[in-house]
Subunit: 283 residues, 3 copies
C-alpha cells in the first residue's frame, strides 16, 4: 500500500526529467500513484513554486508532497523532509516548502536527508530530484522507512522561510498590495483578501481605484468577469479567496504590463486630486 | 471500483490547474484513473476543444469524459452532465460536448449540475473545473451518485450545439471545404471525406486543384507523404478518415498561411481558365 | 497483471496524440500503467529521442519501452519490437531504439510488426503510435500475445543503428568532443567522459581550454556550478557521468551559441600559441 505523491517542479516537459523521477519512484514503490501538480514553474523561481504549492496543497490528497525548484542545487542548502498533519513534504530547504507547510499547520518533525541508503548513487553531479527527493518520497509513501531513518533531526524552526510581502494600508482609504501570482490567463492575484477592501469602506459593486505605473484606473469590484464588458477590467475575489484583477476576455497582466512582485495601490475613489482613469486600454 | 475519466481542457501546463483537478478527483475517488486527453486546447477555443474531443473519444475507454473549455465561466451558461452509450460527458453547455455526444449516438439523459452536495464550496469566484466538473466526474466514475442526483433533468435537446461548417459542392466539379483542424505538425484537416472528392470524379493518384488566397495549386492526391518529394504538398486521407493537406517534411499551414475556419476550394483540374500553379513554395 | 509501459515521443502536448495513445492502451490493457518519459522531443528528431531514451532507460522500471519519433512514417521503414533483458522496446526501426537497446545489453529477438490482429484498422493514413505501436505495447505489457505472434522474426542485427559521433583525441593533449544534448537549462553534454579528460593529464580543479567558433575559453573543471561565480562557465561531470559545460545561473548553450552536433576541442592549457580567453561573456 502507498499514499499518493503530489509532485511539483520547474523541470518543464521538454526533457525527460519528470519522466525519470516517475521512473525512479515506480522502481522503489511500484504501487505509488504520482499526481503531477505542475512542472511549469519558471526555472529556479522558488517564490512561484512556493505559491503554486500553497494554492494546490489543500486540494491534493493526503500523502507525500514532492517539490523541486532548486537553483542552489550543489551548494550548501539542505535537502529536507518535514512531517505535517496531511503527510510529508520533501524538497530543498530554500523557502519552497515553507508557506505550504505553514498553511497546513506547520511541521512537528524535520530531518536533513543525509542517509545515503535512501539515495541513488550518481557518477557525477547529483540530480537531486532523481537521486534524493524522488527516492525519499517513494520510501515515505510506502512506509519502507520512517522519516527519522532518513537523516538527522533538525530544530523545529529549521524550515527556511519565504519572504511574502505584507500589504500596507495607508490609513487614509488605500492599501498597497503586491502581486503574488499571474496565471496563464493573465489574471493578477494580490496579497490581500476581501476583508482588506471592506476595511477601506468598499463593498462589492463599488468602484475601486487602482494606481500603478503613474496611472490611476477606476475599476468595478465585481462578482465575475461577466459583470463588466468585454475588454474591461474587474476587481474580484478569485477562486482562492484573494483579491484579483482580471480583464473580461483579455489578459490583465499584459494590459497593465504588470509582473509578479509589482505593487499596486487599491483604494476608495475620491481620496484626493489623483488622476482618475476609467477602465484600461486593451491593445 | 471506478471507470476511467478522460480529461480535456484549455488549462495548459504552466499553472497547477490540471494537477488540482486531478487532486480533487483523487480525494473523492481515490481509485479513479484519470487519462489526460490534452490540456493544450487554445485558451477559450470551444470549437478546437470540441473537435479534439470528437477525434479522441472513439479511442478512449468507456467511462466519464470531463471537458473544460469555458470562456463563459461565471455567466448564465449551464454546467451539465449527459449520459451516452459509452458513459457520461461532463462540462459546460457551450457547444464543447455536442459533436462528441452526437458522434457516440446522442444522449438519453441530461442534467443541469446544480446540487451543491456534489460541488466544492469556494470563497470567491468558482473555478468550475475544480469545484463542479471535477467532483461530478469523480462521483459519476465511482457511482457515488446517480446522474439524476446531480441536478434537474433538462430536455432531450438541451445540449448546446456547435456550428460546424458544411462543405459546399458547386455542382461543376469543385467543393468548398473548411479547415476544421491544424495539428502541431501543420497538417490541415478539412470538413470533407474521400467520398466528397470521388463525387467530383477524382481518384487517388489524380491531381486536385486547391484554390486559396487568390492562388490555385495543383496537388497530388496521394496515399502518404512519401508519395511526393520533400517540400511538396499532398492531398490525402488522414488518420481520422478526413481529407487533409500536408507537406512532406514541412508545415502545410505555415506554407499556405492557412488558419482553422478558412475555406479552400478543391476540384478537378481543367475546370476552366483558372490559374494553375504546381506545388507550393516552401520557405 | 501488467508491467509498466514507459512512453516517449515527439507528439508534444498541444494536440490529443499522447492522450489518444494512452486511451488505446487503456482499452486493450486496462490495468497497464503508462509512464510518460517525455513527449517534448523535437519534431522528427530521431537522434534527440534516442539520446533521451538512452539516458532515461536505466531509471525506468522493467517493462515495455514505447518510443515514437517517426519522420519516415508511411515509408518503407519497419515497425519493430525488440526483446531485451529489461523488457520490450517498441517503435520505428529508424535508429531511435538502437542506443538504448545496446545500453541494456542488446536484443536476442526482434520482430517486424506486421500481424494486423494486433493493430487498429485506420480508414486513412495510419497514425502508427495509435494504430500499431500503442496496441503492441499494450499486448506485450499484459502478455496477451508473445512477441513472436506480432510478426516475422528479423535477423539479430536488424535494429537500425544510430550514428553517434566518436570523440577524436589529437594525441597532443586535446580532444575533439561533440555535443550530444542541450537540456532545457542550457547545459551542454559532450560525448566524452571524465576518463577522456584525465587521459589528457587533466584533473578536477584544473583549467580546461575549450575551443569553439574561433575562440578559446579557459574554464575550470569544477564539481558543481557553485564552484564558479554567477555567470561563469564550468566544465563538470554531469548527472549522467558525462563531461558537460554549464554556466552558473546561466544558459550555456545560448552563451556559447552552441547546438547539438557542434564540436568543441577540449584540452590542456598552454598547448601552443592559441588565444586564451578566460570565462565567457554572458549577455
Amino acid at each position: 500500500m502507498s499514499v499518493p505523491i503530489s509532485f511539483l517542479s520547474d523541470f518543464g516537459h521538454t526533457d525527460e526529467f519528470v519522466g525519470v523521477v516517475h521512473g525512479v519512484i515506480a522502481r522503489i514503490a511500484p504501487t505509488a500513484r504520482v499526481i503531477d501538480v505542475t512542472h511549469g514553474i519558471g526555472r529556479g523561481d522558488v517564490h512561484g513554486g512556493a505559491m503554486a504549492l500553497t494554492r494546490a496543497v489543500q486540494f491534493m490528497p493526503d500523502g507525500v508532497f514532492l517539490a523541486v525548484v532548486d537553483p542552489g542545487v550543489g551548494t550548501e542548502r539542505q535537502a529536507i523532509a518535514a512531517r505535517t498533519s496531511i503527510g510529508y513534504f520533501v524538497g530543498p530547504n530554500n523557502g519552497l516548502l515553507a508557506p505550504a507547510v505553514a498553511m497546513v499547520g506547520g511541521s512537528d518533525l524535520i530531518v536533513s536527508l543525509e542517509d545515503q541508503r535512501f539515495q541513488l548513487p550518481s557518477s557525477g553531479a547529483t540530480f537531486h530530484g532523481r537521486d534524493i527527493f524522488g527516492p525519499v518520497a517513494a520510501v515515505l509513501a510506502t512506509g519502507q522507512a520512517e522519516i527519522t531513518d532518513l537523516g538527522p533531526e533538525l530544530p523545529a524552526d529549521a524550515v527556511t522561510p519565504l519572504l511574502i510581502p505584507l500589504a500596507e494600508p495607508d490609513g487614509r482609504g488605500a492599501i498597497k498590495a503586491t502581486i503574488l501570482w499571474i496565471d496563464t490567463f493573465g489574471n493578477i492575484q494580490f496579497n490581500i483578501g476581501p476583508d482588506d477592501l471592506t476595511g477601506l469602506g468598499l463593498s462589492t459593486g463599488d468602484d475601486v481605484t487602482v494606481a500603478f505605473a503613474m496611472m490611476e484606473h477606476r475599476i468595478t469590484w465585481g462578482g465575475a468577469y461577466g459583470d463588466v464588458d468585454e475588454g474591461e477590467a474587474v476587481v474580484h475575489v478569485d477562486s482562492h479567496g484573494q483579491i484579483a484583477l482580471g480583464v473580461n476576455g483579455g489578459h490583465a497582466a499584459d494590459d497593465f504590463d504588470a509582473r509578479v512582485g509589482d505593487s499596486m495601490v487599491l483604494g476608495r475613489p475620491g481620496g484626493g486630486n489623483r488622476l482618475e482613469i476609467t477602465g484600461v486600454a486593451t491593445t
